[in-house]
Symmetry: C2
Subunit: 382 residues, 2 copies
């Protein structure tokens, strides 16, 4: 029998606990029905709870508590504080959202993945009907680059203040994220071939490939790492002659995400540029209400990956049972598929959950339903 | 009589000379008709011409040659090379586009402005009908930040290479761009009031204002300058109690540009984040075919501002008379309005040109017409 899969559930702030409750209900249904070797532990951790104690929004030993799990399922961060005493507890984003960055760094979750597909029922923001054909995967470098937090403020607050922020990119992390992109491109092409929906991409020298990787940089202005990214990409591409390659500058990439997103397959970008592109990708697939986000450590070194919906804690509707759990449920499905690398039954449960959420979305889009109602409707399909 | 206005015309590469020819025709028509004290000088400077001489894509003394002009009207950069010998002349973007950055830096054009309004006839990429109400001005800090070109590559090409890129922000440049944003917000509110289309923006404390400035940062990840920007913004806002203020993170801002762009008025962003947002703003106003871009030095210190369409040199259609000059003509109109700060007749000519191009666009959108045909149609309206 496969080893038991252990999940750390961190509901977080605002609507987090509400949408996580539906996710856990679905997990429970799937676990029972398929007798899955799977268990979970709840770490409530609203982000204001630890602030007075250690100045942070997680317990000081949070990463230690989480590190032995196979995955972390996170609801939402962003502390609205107790409604009756907002001044005391309202944390700035830089504190309440810090656990996201801490987990990514601490568990070396060097891949952030956000697929963009416009599923039936999801809101279509673009006028062009081809938006229905959007099918891309944005892969964000999640471990370094613009996010290394090096720099400072000279003469803070003075009229002649200078603030600096260093971007640091290593060839090693660049190579691994680019290789990951090419591998995903191959996997996607294989999956499409199986489903009979092969796509075609033309290379510059006129060859036709069934997948594509587009690297994004801003090398005409940020030349140092832009050049390194480009060289690493071109070298890696030689090992994947079956994958078409493409280069976009980040400004043009954002423009093309709006103008012709159906032309992309896999997109690889730096931490900040990937942050921007994954948010745009979320819009392309219908917006925050449906967008999952995966922070992965693919190294099989025992460190947990982290799964969170792209949306925030939505304090304005928290506690009212109004939040749409769809993004959270898609995120949970994605987590099961990821965990399923080691156990096909778990992967199958992930696909089952995905199909149930997608079917519910297609049938009920636009209806006004509460959190629990949507969760129950999805569970009925399982 | 007002002093003679002198314009340096740099057509550049690819379709640049073709669209610039139409712009110059229009300038000539307006000059004659209104007896405007205005003259121009052509600096052909295709970007490959100087490369073998000095490794650059402009003559070594280009800035010296240009500095006494009141404005620079630029066609497009990006060298496709002579079609019969592409290998010899094809310059990478980092060289052929360098003059843009050199001029911005050399002439301290610290404001980059791109208005976004979806004019009748322009292509609408968003499905929501409210896209017709889009009316925002994105103001990009154009002198420092991510574009200072400081950094390097340690162990270049080796597996343990480290590439760094420094972002440098000064409070002085931050203050001036934020102040510029607030001033523009007031001017826009005044102009709207005159046209009888007042807009309303709600402040956090429930007050209603007729204009808004949204500051964009990524302060939850790039904390040093993000905090400095935020502090500078909050302090400056005290001097503009009549303007509503708003803060967005760049990823959320990009998302909202697609989801609800009609909610924005003035948007102020850093060099790189502004680069991305202005490209998105270009899409919102119909795409590259219509988007002007202004690089301004508002200091009245004699240094020229530079006006260019957002589009590139489009080598694939260059030399065939197919390029749409609409963006170039809007850019020219914007230049005249800018130059008109000193001469109302010139400003009026700018508005006249704008109206003619807009009317032509509204009437003929979608028709397939050549460069000269569009230029002639616009001139007929002058
Ligand atoms: C909360 C923030 C630091 C984070 C990021 O920038 O990575 C968020 O925007 C995301 O995309 O997960
Ligand atoms: C050509 C390039 C360096 C430039 C920039 O990034 O500023 C361009 O994208 C622009 O927006 O004018």
């Amino acid at each position: 029998m496969a080893q038991k899969t252990r999940i750390a559930v961190t509901p977080g702030d605002g609507i987090g606990p509400e949408v996580v409750a539906e996710a856990v209900h679905c997990l429970e249904t799937l676990r029972k029905r398929h007798d899955l070797p799977m268990e979970w532990t709840r770490f409530p951790w609203p982000s204001h709870a630890w602030h007075e104690e250690n100045g942070e929004s997680m317990p000081a030993d949070a990463l230690d508590q989480l590190k032995s799990y196979d995955a972390i399922l996170l609801g939402a961060l962003g502390d609205p504080g107790p409604v009756d005493d907002p001044d005391r507890y309202l944390l700035p984003d830089s504190i309440s959202l810090a656990p996201l960055l801490d987990m990514r760094k601490g568990f070396d979750q060097w891949v952030c993945e956000r697929p963009a597909r416009l599923l039936p029922g999801a809101r279509q923001y673009l006028a062009d009907e081809r938006a229905k054909d959007i099918d891309m995967l944005v892969i964000r470098e999640n471990s370094e680059g613009e996010y290394v937090s090096q720099g400072g403020r000279l003469r803070k607050g003075a009229p002649d203040e200078v603030a600096t922020q260093m971007e640091v990119f290593t060839r090693r992390a660049t190579d691994r994220i680019i290789r990951y992109g090419f591998e995903q491109a191959r996997l996607r092409a294989a999956a499409r071939a199986e489903e009979g929906r092969t796509r075609h991409f033309r290379t510059l020298d006129g060859k036709t490939c069934e997948s594509q990787v587009c690297i994004v940089t801003k090398r005409n202005a940020l030349r140092y790492w832009g050049d390194m990214y480009t060289e690493a990409f071109e070298e890696m591409a030689k090992q994947y002659p079956d994958v078409a390659t493409h280069h976009e500058l980040v400004d043009a990439a954002c423009m093309k995400f709006v103008q012709a997103p159906w032309a992309f397959d896999v997109v690889v970008a730096s931490n900040l540029q990937g942050d921007i592109l994954t948010d745009l990708a979320a819009v392309l697939s219908g917006g925050m209400g449906v967008a999952p986000s995966c922070n992965l450590n693919p190294d099989e070194n025992g460190m947990p990956s982290m799964f969170e919906p792209t949306h925030g804690s939505a304090p304005d509707i928290a506690g009212q049972g109004l939040a749409d759990p769809t993004a959270m449920l898609f995120t949970t499905a994605r987590m099961l598929e990821w965990l399923g690398r080691k156990d096909p039954a778990v992967a199958a449960a992930g696909r089952e959950l995905f199909d149930a959420v997608a079917a519910d979305l297609a049938e009920n889009a636009g209806k006004s339903r509460g959190t629990q109602e949507i969760g129950a409707a999805v569970r009925e399909r399982l």
